[in-house]
């Protein structure tokens, strides 16, 4: 009996060690860069890092990232010039683009369509509107030189707070016990493929079964929705109403169908411009997201780039180069 017990332990340990080596050797784990909060209170990636991000359990998606000097994933450094037309694209992981090679990002796709443009991508996983607008304010000198700011807004997740504060939550992911566990690429891999998540779900469901609760599911959905709609609208007003923001430059990138009616009406009545990326994604028959991941795949990114480019063309931006845009591009955006 003891012999069996020790053999199981020994074999188990050796097998885990070898599987860890295989996961590392074949780079099956996700592998994200290190985070930081800079002197302006902006959360971002530590500048100068590069590497690969994996998605799916058999490396279904494998992409390269490059963190520039400012701390964002981009093929270029952000150095706006007066003679070029710059567009800043701010958002969460969808804009950050760790799911695609950094040299094939949404910004790059827009630039390919409109070569006169320079797109600066300020994407960081977990950013909400408070983070995004704080970034614009914190780097006001940089953003003053940028001609247009496209702010990605995912409703309602990005509108759950009405002011900015430095959140340590994500930084905690690389500290303490959690950070220690991240050193095991096997554990990271198990987390990526949903194995750990399904275990946790099972344990939570047992906990609820034992305690006799349903995990809060019994709450009235109707009231909850109404409360949320009101709260998100107020948060949006508070955040956008902050002093020091140049509203002339800001355009929101939204999925119109996801917005609450109240917020949509507010955007329309207040004359706040927005780009609806949801429409083009829904019109597409082929999958626009990755496997095991809600993020846009190459096609999804292409379509979002197309939606942004279409907006720029329709708004005649940049004004001086409109005539240089190929005719077929104009037709494509009609």
């Amino acid at each position: 009996m003891k012999r069996l017990f020790f053999k199981i332990l020994a074999y188990g340990f050796l097998i885990l060690l070898l599987v860890e080596a295989l996961v590392r050797g074949l780079h099956l784990h996700k592998g994200t860069p290190e985070r930081m909060i800079d002197e302006k209170g902006v959360e971002k990636w530590v500048p100068g890092q590069s590497g690969f991000v994996t998605t799916g359990n058999r490396r279904q998606n494998f992409s390269e990232y490059r963190i520039n000097d400012l701390g964002f994933n981009s093929y270029r450094e952000f150095d706006p010039q007066t003679e070029t037309y710059e567009v800043a694209l701010i958002g969460d992981s969808f804009i950050e683009g760790f799911h695609q090679d950094y040299y094939n990002s949404i910004g790059k796709k827009i630039e390919r369509r409109m070569p006169e443009l320079a797109v600066y991508e300020f994407g960081y996983a977990g950013y909400d509107l408070a983070d995004e607008l704080h970034l614009v304010q914190a780097y006001d000198e940089l953003f003053e030189k940028i001609d247009m700011v496209v702010v990605y807004l995912h409703y309602p997740d990005d509108l759950l707070r009405n002011r900015y504060w430095v959140s340590e939550e994500r930084l905690k992911l690389q500290k303490g016990m959690y950070g220690l566990l991240q050193h095991s690429k096997l554990l990271v891999y198990l987390q990526n493929i949903g194995f750990l998540n399904s275990m946790t779900k099972q344990l939570v469901s047992w906990k609820h079964a034992i305690s006799g609760s349903s995990g809060g599911k019994e709450k009235s959905e109707g009231n909850k929705d109404q409360g949320l709609e009101h709260k998100t609208l107020e948060n949006f007003k508070d955040l956008v109403g902050q002093p020091g923001l140049n509203h002339e430059k800001i355009v929101f990138l939204v999925d119109e169908q996801l917005l609450s009616e109240d917020l949509k009406n507010y955007l329309l009545t207040a004359g706040i411009p927005y780009i609806d990326y949801g429409k083009v994604l829904r019109q597409e028959k082929a999958p626009v997201t990755l496997i095991y991941d809600q993020h846009w795949n190459d096609l999804g990114r292409e379509l979002v780039a197309k939606a942004i480019a279409a907006y720029l063309v329709n708004e005649q931006k940049p004004p001086i180069v409109q005539k240089q845009i190929p005719l077929n591009l104009h037709e494509e955006y009609q």
Binding site: Y11, L18, V19
Partner: protein
């Protein structure tokens, strides 16, 4: 409780620990633990059906005694035997076949121009594993009647025999003459047996997760949208289903046999690499062995077997294949599947070739020649075609699928429903077939490697494959639970 669930991975070590540590010297308590553990295992799905299994246990425990008591008088003993048969088949018939027979009757009358306005169909939930444990308990009474076993006086032993959790819900269907003495007798912890059990469990898990669960979304996609796919894709769907059901069912059997070994109990083998069979006769000696031998012993032989002339033998073959088909499910597709196999088997029987490969296996002495390989491919092809009936929702679905196989010729383009690379699955199947060929001599030893380091690498690769093909979104229940 599923073998491949978190609950089982907590349940099994706990029972194992109590069994060998806390109750090591107390045989009765070991059996009580097995019984209670089995009822928890079964009740995890739906505790209400525990009453059914308990009723079946009580009836057959009592009937077994009465059959033995009445035995000098065969006629009286047979009457008691009928009590067991009527009860068990009654329960099975009600839960599994009631709606099927009512529906078939209504359809039959409709064909004759007669309409039934009010039909009594019921919303019946099929208790998991009902076909397995009813057959197991019935065989106990049959064996007493035949004088093969003596009735047990120990209810706990008998109840543990009926509900022994490793094989309760999907077999192997055990015989009382084999399992009951092991439960009644004292058991001693055996290191080699436990290690062999763990190996089988791991290999069974590989078959289930890497083969069955990984192929399931592709098979579902192709069968559900068969009208959209080209003939080669439809053939691939049928082949994949063949591997899916093999991985699912034989994987379950391996895990069951492996688990039983951990408790010092040997279960019968249920699969012996059936896809390396050289004809259908060999296939049926290698596929779901515990069921085919059950039908042979308790149906084919009592019907006269092959002793009463060719015509009667052919009739008997048809009966066991059709009944075996119906056993799988209340659907005409299963009956046709059984009939299809009967049609494949009878020519072999008439030519006297159905036992040609008994006691041997592919490439036993040397690498198989072209003739043997062709025979394996031919058998596999026939079996694959039969799986179309088995997998189809109804006969119309099966016929449509066959029509597609014949007529839908276009470029065989196929994309995984979730967008995965298809090449991964072909490579995985090739590796699996090659490994199965390597271990084909002994189905109870899936890692026949002497060198410790190589064995460790093999275990590692199995665990790695499990992680590569694990799908958190897939339905992980076993196909044969529905039977």
């Amino acid at each position: 409780m599923l073998f491949n669930s978190l609950a089982y991975f907590l349940f099994l070590p706990l029972i194992f620990f109590l069994y060998w540590v806390a109750f090591r010297r107390r045989h009765l308590w070991q059996n009580i633990l097995l019984l209670v553990g089995s009822y928890i295992f079964y009740g995890w799905w739906d505790w209400r059906f525990l009453f059914l299994i308990l009723a079946s246990t009580i009836v057959d425990f009592y009937v077994g005694k009465m059959v033995a008591k009445a035995l000098p008088d065969k006629r009286r003993a047979r009457l008691w035997l009928w009590v067991s048969v009527v009860f068990n088949l009654g329960v099975l018939g009600f839960f599994k076949y009631y709606n099927f027979f009512v529906g078939s009757m209504v359809d039959g009358l409709h064909t004759l121009g007669l309409e039934m306005n009010s039909v009594w169909t019921l919303k019946i939930i099929l208790p998991v594993g009902i076909s397995f444990y009813t057959f197991q308990t019935m065989s106990y009474c049959f064996d007493i009647y035949r004088g093969k076993v003596q009735p047990t006086n120990n209810f706990v032993d008998f109840a543990a025999f009926v509900s022994f959790f490793p094989q309760l819900v999907a077999g192997p269907i055990e015989r009382s003459s084999h399992l009951l003495p092991q439960i009644s007798g004292k058991r001693k912890f055996n290191y080699e047996q436990s290690v062999a059990g763990l190996r089988l469990f791991l290999y069974g898990m590989l078959k289930k997760v890497v083969i069955a669960d990984a192929l399931a979304p592709i098979v579902d996609d192709i069968f559900n949208h068969y009208e959209l796919h080209a003939a080669p894709v439809l053939f691939m769907g049928a082949v994949f289903f063949g591997f899916q059901i093999y991985g699912d069912f034989s994987g379950y059997s391996d895990m069951a046999i492996g688990t039983a070994k951990l408790f010092g109990i040997e279960l019968r083998s249920n699969f012996r690499f059936p896809y390396f069979s050289r004809n259908i006769g060999e296939f049926w000696r290698r596929w779901h062995i515990s069921l085919s031998s059950w039908f042979r012993d308790y149906l084919y032989i009592p019907l006269g077997g092959s002793r009463e002339g060719k015509w009667k033998a052919i009739r008997n073959i048809f009966i066991i294949f059709l009944v075996s088909g119906l056993w799988h499910g209340a659907n005409w597709t299963f009956v046709v599947w059984g009939g299809f196999h009967a049609l494949l088997f009878i020519p072999l029987f008439l030519l006297g070739e159905n036992r040609k490969y008994k006691g041997s296996f592919l490439g036993e002495h040397e690498f198989p020649g072209a003739k043997e390989i062709l025979a394996v491919l031919n058998t596999f092809f026939m079996v694959t075609l039969s799986w179309i009936f088995f997998r189809a929702e109804d006969l119309g679905h099966a016929i449509g699928y066959f029509k597609g196989l014949i007529g839908q010729w276009s470029l065989p383009l196929y994309m995984h429903p979730q967008g995965y690379r298809m090449i991964d699955y072909f490579l995985m199947l090739l590796c699996f077939i090659a490994y199965e060929y390597y271990i084909r001599a002994d189905e109870r030893n899936p890692v026949p490697i002497k060198t410790g380091a190589v064995r460790l690498v093999t275990y590692t690769l199995i665990v790695f494959a499990l992680l590569l093909f694990y799908d958190s979104g897939s339905d992980r229940s076993f196909i044969y639970f529905q039977f």
